[in-house]
Amino acid sequence: MNEDWALYEVFIRARSGLEHKHVGSLHAADARMALEHARDTYTRRQEGVSIWVVRSIDILASDPEEAGELFEPARDKVYRHPTFYSIPEEVKNI
C-alpha cells in the first residue's frame, strides 16, 4: 500500500459576501489535485463559488487541554460588552 497522499483541509465560500468555511478534508498528490477533488467532493450541489485548500500539516491548532488558560481570562472582563454599562432610559441613541 502506497503512503497516503497529503491531507488537505477544504474551505468553501458559499456565495459572495460570506467567509470561507471549513467543510472537510481530502487527500491529494498536490494542491491542484486537492482543488479538483474538493470541487467533486464538496460542491456537487452548487455549495460554493470559491474553494481554498490548505495542507492540514500547515495548520497549528490550540490544545483543548489548555482551553482554560487560553480562553478563561476573557470570562471576568464583562466590561467589554455594551450591556455592562447602565444608561438612563431617557438618554436616546446610545
Binding site: W5, E9, H27, D30, A31, R32, M33, D40, R44, W52
Partner: protein
C-alpha cells in the same frame, strides 16, 4: 513561553501520535496519566456526553470510545464504497438518458459519502491507507446488503426505496452523534441521501403503477428479494447486539436496532401498498394495541452467513474493488510523480500558476 503553549498540536491527528512537541526542551513524553487519573477522566468524559457536548478530534476520549468509532465509521465508509458496485452495474443499461444521469449522480454521491466518512475516521488517528488495505484484504466489514445481486432494473428502484430508506432511518439519529466529525459528515450525507430514496420510489412507481404486467411482476420480484435483507441492515436484534448498550451510553447510537427496524417497517408498509405490491411476510399485520406493524421472524442465519463472506456476491464485490484499485495504480503513480516534479508548488515557495492567494 507559557507552559500552556508547550504543545502545539497539528490539527486532526489522533491523540495516539498527535503530539508535535515544540518549544520545550525538558520533556519528550506526552503527559502520562495515572490509572486513577484515567478513571477520573472517563468520568468527566461521560459527564460531557451526558450534557450533550460534542467530542472533537483532539479532546481526550477513552480508547474504547475511539476504537468503537473507528470501527463503526470505517464500516460505514466501506459500505458506501462497496455500495457503488451493485448500482454501477446498471449505469450502462439504464432505460433512459434521464435515469442514467440520475443513477450516475447517485453512485457519485455514494463515492462522496465514502470520502466524508473516511475523513471522519482519520480524525481518530487511523490512516486512509490502513482502512483501504483492510477493505482490500477482506478484513473489514461492510453492510451485508451489498452482497446481494442486482438482477433487474427494478432492483435499482428497490435499492433506492428500501436500502437507502433503511440507511436514512439509521443515519438521521447519527446526525446527533456525540462525535463531532461523524455527526457533521452524517448531516451532509442525510441531505444528499433523500434524493436517492425518492428516485428509487419513483422507479418503483413507474414499474408498478403505470408499467406492463411484466414490469409489475419485476417490481414485485425486486421487493421480494430486497425486503428481508433491508430489514437485516439494522443489525442484530437488541438482545443479540453486544455493542448497543455502550454505544447508547456514549450517544453514538440514539435508538436500538429493533426500534429503528420497527420505524422502517411502519413507514414502508403503506408505501408498498400504494405501489400495489405485497410485502413478502405472511405474518405481517397491523397491531392495534401497539399501533405498530407486527412482522415475522428474520432469518439471522442468513445474515451471519452473508457477513462471514458466504453471500451471493461477497467475492465478486471484493474482486471488483481490488481490480478498480489496481487499474487506478498507474494514475496514482503518475500523479505522485508529477507532484514530486513540481514540488515547489507544495512546499510554500509560491502558489502554482493560476492559484489565487488565499486572502
Amino acid at each position: 513561553m507559557r507552559p500552556g503553549l508547550k504543545f502545539l498540536y497539528h490539527i486532526r491527528l489522533g491523540s495516539v501520535h498527535m503530539y508535535t512537541q515544540a518549544l520545550d526542551s525538558c520533556g519528550t513524553e506526552p503527559p502520562s496519566v495515572a490509572p486513577a487519573g484515567e478513571a477520573e477522566r472517563e468520568r468527566q468524559f461521560q459527564e460531557r456526553i451526558d450534557r450533550d457536548e460534542k467530542i472533537e478530534p483532539k479532546d481526550w476520549m477513552p480508547d474504547a470510545y475511539r476504537q468503537t468509532l473507528i470501527r463503526q465509521i470505517a464500516q460505514h465508509a466501506h459500505s458506501e464504497i462497496i455500495g457503488m458496485l451493485p448500482e454501477g452495474n446498471w449505469i450502462t443499461r439504464a432505460p433512459s438518458l434521464r435515469r442514467k444521469a440520475v443513477l450516475i449522480a447517485k453512485v457519485q454521491d455514494e463515492g462522496g459519502h465514502g470520502m466524508y466518512l473516511y475523513s471522519a475516521a482519520e480524525t481518530l488517528g487511523v490512516s486512509r491507507g490502513e482502512l483501504m488495505a483492510q477493505l482490500l484484504a477482506g478484513r473489514a466489514k461492510y453492510s451485508s446488503i451489498f452482497n446481494y445481486p442486482t438482477l433487474t432494473w427494478a432492483d435499482i428502484g428497490a435499492i433506492g426505496w428500501l436500502v437507502d430508506g433503511a440507511a436514512i432511518m439509521n443515519q438521521i439519529p447519527l446526525c446527533r452523534c456525540s462525535y463531532g466529525p461523524y455527526a457533521r459528515a452524517m448531516v451532509r450525507i442525510c441531505k444528499e441521501e433523500s434524493f436517492h430514496q425518492r428516485q428509487g420510489y419513483e422507479i418503483m412507481l413507474t414499474l408498478a403503477r403505470s408499467g406492463t404486467r411484466a414490469q409489475r411482476e419485476m417490481a414485485q420480484d425486486a421487493l421480494d428479494r430486497w425486503w428481508w435483507p433491508s430489514l437485516m441492515m439494522f443489525g442484530p436484534s437488541d438482545v443479540e447486539s453486544g455493542h448497543t448498550a455502550q454505544s447508547m451510553r456514549w450517544r453514538i447510537k440514539r435508538f436500538t436496532n429493533d426500534e429503528l427496524r420497527q420505524k422502517f417497517i411502519d413507514a414502508t408498509v403503506p408505501q408498498a401498498r400504494f405501489l400495489g405490491l405485497s410485502i413478502p411476510d405472511p405474518d405481517l399485520r397491523w397491531d392495534e394495541a401497539s399501533q405498530h406493524y407486527a412482522s415475522g421472524p428474520i432469518d439471522w442465519g442468513e445474515f451471519q452467513a452473508v457477513l462471514k463472506g458466504e453471500g451471493p456476491c461477497n467475492r465478486e464485490r471484493l474482486a471488483a474493488r481490488r481490480a478498480a484499485h489496481e487499474s487506478g495504480r498507474w494514475v496514482r503513480e503518475a500523479a505522485a510523480a508529477y507532484a514530486d516534479k513540481h514540488s515547489d508548488h507544495r512546499t510554500g515557495t509560491g502558489p502554482a500558476p493560476g492559484y489565487a492567494q488565499a486572502s
